[in-house]
């Protein structure tokens, strides 16, 4: 968890990726510097210069206006491909949670994580964690997308659940990327606009 998870590309010039460590990020292209200090987000247009208060909502809005995660994922020939290294785990079971003998609900148990790669293109997500833990699924066949502060989960066909804990990439970038790709895939297939990504992908009100 770090500021770069939120601010993965430059809100000023759009450069992608930002550099960062802990509660600070900086842009190698335009030189802006953003840090969290005493509960506030402070931006300097150049390192050591005057600091301005900025809101996280403004940072995210400007990143989206620059194209969010799509620009970096788009090649010169217009095709789209993006990948990241991750610790990949799969749900192996669900366990009941009881209190005083009464069932309250269920929680998922994830198997041991394995190093691997997740790659997306316009139509599919490809997961490769070696051996039988490899596969490729259409965005149209995904059941749900959800991000935690450090990982991303995808619900796959046949009641499978896969979780990615990224080695050196932002879960927010991936959440936004997956949502955009799924939305685009639904629109291309004429299935309407996606309005909800969890607990299942839903179109229209």
């Amino acid at each position: 968890m770090a500021l770069i998870d939120l601010c993965y590309r430059c809100p000023q010039c759009g450069h992608d990726p930002m550099d960062g460590e802990g509660d600070a990020v900086w842009c190698a292209s335009c030189g802006i510097w953003i840090e969290r200090s005493r509960g506030r987000l402070l931006l300097s247009l150049t390192e050591g210069d005057q600091q301005f208060d900025v809101s996280a909502a403004d940072l995210c809005r400007r990143i989206d206006e620059h194209g969010g995660p799509i620009t970096r994922a788009t090649r010169d020939d217009g095709t789209l491909e993006y990948s990241a290294r991750a610790r990949i785990s799969w749900r192996v079971s669900e366990q009941a949670v009881r209190y005083r003998g009464v069932l309250r609900g269920f929680v998922e148990s994830m198997g041991p994580p394995a190093p691997g790669t997740v790659t997306v293109d316009r139509d599919r997500v490809h997961v490769d964690a070696g051996g039988r833990h490899a596969g490729s699924w259409r965005h149209l066949d995904l059941g749900a997308v959800q991000a935690s502060s450090s990982s991303l989960q995808l619900s796959l066909p046949d009641d499978q659940l896969v979780q990615f804990r990224f080695e050196d990439d932002s879960p927010r970038r991936w959440e936004t990327l997956m949502r955009r790709l799924i939305t685009d895939a639904y629109e291309r297939a004429g299935r309407g606009g996606v309005v909800e990504f969890q607990p299942r992908i839903v179109t229209g009100w």
Binding site: D23, R62, G105, F106, E108
Partner: protein
């Protein structure tokens, strides 16, 4: 009904909340003294449940993502004792809804983060449709609760905390009535979501606009 563990943790965690934040609370009189109710809140920080539940006199069974229950043995022991309901986010979870409705039948409160997750950027996100359906099905009073300042204290993207001033505001209960059929719930979904959003935004008050710096 307040169980022993719940009462113990409410007192203990209220003190922890006071250490971690400078917490102000208003509108507690809007929480019904008896009978079932649903408490709906925005969600900006891991501190929110601690502050909302410990400042509410009634027992509130809050939905919590199922992943938290599996995080470690301590959480697995602790969360049911503070009346958390595990909700799976990767599939529709009818058991969590059954648990919530049972709590309401017993006359307790149920807590819902309408956005279904902590906001990355500290702004109100779209509401989860399943949560609105539950509100329309239950037909009990709905108390809006807005928490501000916890994003500054501890946003989801950092491990470091800052002791900010936090304001927990409980608002006047809203009444939506019972919508028994699926059709009735679907047609009432969007207006109910709008009404809940307006209630939370009214409690939040104006947030000052900050112009993006130009260096001029």
């Amino acid at each position: 009904m307040v169980s022993g563990w719940y009462a113990f943790f409410r007192v203990a965690l209220r003190w922890i909340g006071r250490v971690l934040t400078r917490c102000r609370v208003s509108g507690r009189s809007h929480i019904p003294r008896e009978g079932p109710f649903i408490l709906v809140a925005n969600h900006e920080s891991i501190l929110d449940p601690l502050l909302i539940q410990t400042n509410c006199r009634r027992t509130v069974h809050f939905f919590a993502k199922s992943t938290q229950f599996g995080a470690n043995a301590v959480f697995r022991w602790f969360l049911p004792r503070v009346a958390a309901i595990p909700a799976r986010r990767y599939r529709v979870d009818p058991q969590s809804v059954r648990t919530a409705l049972r709590a309401l039948e017993r006359g307790d409160g149920v807590g819902i983060y309408l956005e279904g997750e902590r906001s990355w950027e500290g702004a109100l996100r779209p509401f989860r449709r399943g949560s609105i359906r539950l509100i329309l099905k239950a037909g009990v009073p709905v108390v809006p609760c807005h928490v501000s300042g916890t994003y500054d204290a501890w946003p989801r993207w950092t491990r470091s905390r800052w002791r900010s001033t936090v304001h927990v505001r409980y608002g006047e209960p809203l009444h939506f009535g019972v919508h028994e059929t699926r059709g009735a719930r679907e047609s009432a979904l969007e207006p109910a979501a709008d009404r809940l959003r307006q209630a939370l935004l009214a409690l939040a008050g104006e947030r000052p606009d900050r112009p993006w710096p130009t260096g001029a």
